[in-house]
C-alpha cells in the first residue's frame, strides 16, 4: 500500500521521464529543442481520453494508439519543418522557434477538438479526471503500478533497440559523429526521422501518463513543459539515459518535496510546488553551466587529487 503522494508521484515521474527523454533524444539527434512536446503530450492525453470516454475500456488499452499518434505528429513536424531547416543548417534558435510555431498550431487543434467533444458528445472535455477510469490494485490505484512498469518496459526496449539492432547502433553512431556516419553509408535523414517517431511517441505517451495523476486540460502539456525541460537539463541534454533519469528525479522530487513541506510548513506551499523542479534546475546550472553532461566526470577525481597535492592549478 503506497501513500497517495507516492502513488501520484510515481505516475508523474514516469511521465516526465518519458517526455524529458524524448526532448533529449530529439536534441542530440537533430539539435532541436522541441517546444511542440507540450502539445504533443496534450494530444496524447486526448487520444487516450477519447478512446476511454467514447469506446469504453481502461485507458491502458489505448496507449499503443497514443504512441502512434504522437509518432505521426513527430513525422509531420520532421517532414514539414525540421528537415528543410536541417538541410539549410539553420541555427539552434531557429530550429527551436520553428517547433514553437508548430506547437501553437497543435494547440489550436486541441482547443477546437475540445469544443467538438463538448458539443457533439456532451463531454466535459476541458476538465478531465482520468483516474476515474482506473481500477484498484493492491489497495492503490493501478496506474501507480502499471504506468511505471510500462515506462520501464518501454525504456528497456528502447535500450535494446539502441544497443542490439543495426539501425539502433547506427542511430548512436549518427548522434556521436554525423559526418563519419554519413561516410559509412548511414542515411542521417532516416535517423532523424526515427528520432521524431520515437520522440513524438514518447511525448504523447508521457502526456497520457500525466493525465492519470492530475486534471487533464487542453493546456496540460503547456503547463508542464518547463518541468520536462528541467528534467532534460538536469540529465545534461547530451545523454538519453541522463534525460530519462533527470525527468524521473524532477517528478519525484516535486511530489515528495511538496508532500514533505505541506505536512511540515503548511498546505499553502502547494501553490508554489513548481519552485522545486525550478530550484533543482537552477542549482544544477549554477554549479554546472552546461548541465550535468558538461562535466568531464572522468577527470573530476584527477582534478580533485591534483588540487589536494597542490599541483592541480
Amino acid at each position: 500500500m503506497m501513500p497517495p503522494w507516492l502513488a501520484s508521484g510515481f505516475i508523474y515521474a514516469s511521465a516526465l521521464a518519458l517526455t524529458a527523454g524524448g526532448i533529449t533524444l530529439l536534441y542530440i539527434t537533430t539539435r532541436t529543442f522541441n517546444f511542440a512536446h507540450a502539445s504533443m503530450a496534450t494530444w496524447g492525453f486526448y487520444v487516450a481520453y477519447t478512446g476511454t470516454a467514447l469506446y469504453g475500456g481502461s485507458p491502458y488499452r489505448y496507449f499503443p494508439l497514443v504512441f502512434l499518434f504522437g509518432s505521426l505528429l513527430g513525422v509531420i513536424c520532421y517532414f514539414g519543418l525540421n528537415r528543410p531547416l536541417l538541410r539549410r543548417q539553420a541555427a539552434e534558435i531557429t530550429l527551436m522557434m520553428s517547433t514553437l510555431g508548430y506547437d501553437l498550431i497543435l494547440l489550436s487543434g486541441i482547443q477546437m477538438y475540445c469544443d467538438y467533444l463538448t458539443y457533439t458528445h456532451k463531454l466535459f472535455a476541458r476538465r478531465v479526471t482520468m483516474s476515474v477510469y482506473d481500477f484498484q490494485l493492491g489497495g492503490t490505484s493501478a496506474a501507480s503500478i502499471i504506468l511505471p512498469l510500462i515506462a520501464i518496459a518501454f525504456l528497456t526496449a528502447l535500450h535494446f533497440f539502441l544497443v542490439k539492432t543495426k539501425f539502433g547502433v547506427a542511430m548512436r553512431a549518427t548522434i556521436e559523429n554525423p559526418v563519419l556516419a554519413g561516410a559509412s553509408g548511414i542515411n542521417a535523414d532516416a535517423v532523424y526521422l526515427a528520432s521524431w517517431v520515437i520522440g513524438g511517441g514518447m511525448a504523447s505517451l508521457g502526456g497520457a501518463f500525466m493525465a492519470m495523476a492530475m486534471t487533464g486540460t487542453p493546456v496540460i502539456g503547456m503547463m508542464s513543459i518547463p518541468f520536462m525541460f528541467a528534467g532534460a537539463i538536469l540529465g545534461g541534454l547530451y545523454s538519453l539515459y541522463g534525460g530519462i533519469l533527470g525527468g524521473f528525479v524532477v517528478g519525484l522530487a516535486e511530489y515528495g518535496g511538496v508532500y514533505y513541506l505541506a505536512t511540515r510548513v503548511g498546505p499553502w506551499v502547494l501553490g508554489y510546488r513548481m519552485a522545486i523542479p525550478l530550484l533543482i534546475m537552477a542549482l544544477t546550472l549554477l554549479v554546472f553551466p552546461r548541465g550535468l553532461a558538461g562535466v568531464a566526470w572522468r577527470s573530476v577525481p584527477r582534478a580533485v587529487i591534483g588540487r589536494l597535492r597542490g599541483v592541480g592549478t
Partner: protein, 388 residues
Amino acid sequence: MTTGNGAASRASEFFLRREVLITVALLLVLTWLLVSRGVSLLLTILIDFAIFTIVTLSLNLEVGFTGIPQFGRVIAVIAGAFAVGAIPGRLLAWFMGLPHGLSYAEDAVNYKVVPQLSEVLAGNAFLAVVFFLFSLVLAALCGAAIGWLASRPAIRLREAYLGISLLAFGDFFMWAGHNWEPLVGGTTAVFVPDPFRIVWGYRFQAVVITMLVVTLLIYLYVERLTRSPFGRALRMLRDSDVAAGVSGKNIVRVRTQSLMIGSALAAVAGGMYVIYTGTCTAIGFTRLTWTFWPWAYMMLGGIGSNAGVVLGVLLLTTMRSIITVYRFKLFGFLTVWGIDPLWLEYALMGLVIVVVVLFMPHGLIPAKVEPILPLGRVKKALERTAQG
C-alpha cells in the same frame, strides 16, 4: 562598382515597395474597420498595438541586437504590472489614511478602497499626472532590477539553457502572483486606481493617445540607442563574443545594460497595460501572450529591425482583431461542430512563425547589415589616405 550600387539600390527599392504596400493595405483595412465597426474597435487595436510594440521592441533589443535567447519576456512585464498593481495604490491609500498594508490587496478591502482613490485622482489633475508618471517610473525601475537579476545567469549560461531557464522562471512569477494574495490579490484581481478618470467620457481616447505617445517616445529612444556606439557594441557582441572582447568592450557590462534597458521598457508596457485595464490579474500574464506572441511579431517584422517590429505588430494585431470580430462570418462553418473559430488565432500565430522561419527568415523589413564603423568615419579615413 556601379553595378553593385545599382543592384543594392534596386534591392532597397524592392523592400521599400513591399513595406509600403503592406502599410498602405493595413491602413485601408483599418479605415474600413473604422467605418464598418465604429471607433471603439480601432481604439482596441491601437491599444494592443501600443502595448505590444513596446514589449516587442524591448524583446528585439535583447534578441535581435544582443543575441540573448529571451524566452522569459513575461518576467519583466510581470515586474512592471505587479509593481503598478501593488505599490502606487498603496502609497496613495497610506497618504489618504486608508488601509494600505497587506490587507490592501484583499478582495473585500480592495474593491472599496480603490474607487475612493480613483475619486481622489479624478478631482485632482496634478495628482493624476504625478500618479501616472510615478507608476511608469516605478515599473521601469522594477523592470531594470529584474533585468539585472536575469543578467547574472545570462553571462554564464549557453543559449538553450538560458532560454529555458528564463521561460521557466516566467511561469514561476506568474504562479507566485497567483498564489500570494497580498501582492496583487492572488486568484482575484487587484484593482488599480485610475488616473484617467479625470477625462471621464473620453477616457478610452485619452488612454490610447497617451499610450501611443509613450510608444512613440520609446521607439525613438530605442532607434537612437541602437544607432549609438552602444548599439554597435551590442551588434559586435552578438556577432562574435571574441571580437568584441578583443576590441576592448566590456562584454559583461554591455550585456547587463541591454538586459536592464530591455526589461525596463517591457515593464513600462506591463504597467501601462494594468492602468488601462484597471485591474491586475496575475494569471493573465501567461508566457503565451507576453513571450510567444511578441516573438511571433518580432520574427514577422524582422529580427534586429525596429521599423520591422512596428509593422509586424500592427499587421498581426489587426489580423487578430479581424479574426475576433469576423470569426463567425468568415469561419462560421466551424460552429456546425460546435467549434469557436476564436481558436484560429493560435493557428494564425503558429502559421506566421512557421512561414517566416521557412520562407522569409529575415522578416518583412530585414535588418540592414551595417558596417561596424559608421560610414562617415570610413569615408573620412579614405579621404585622408587619398590626400596623403
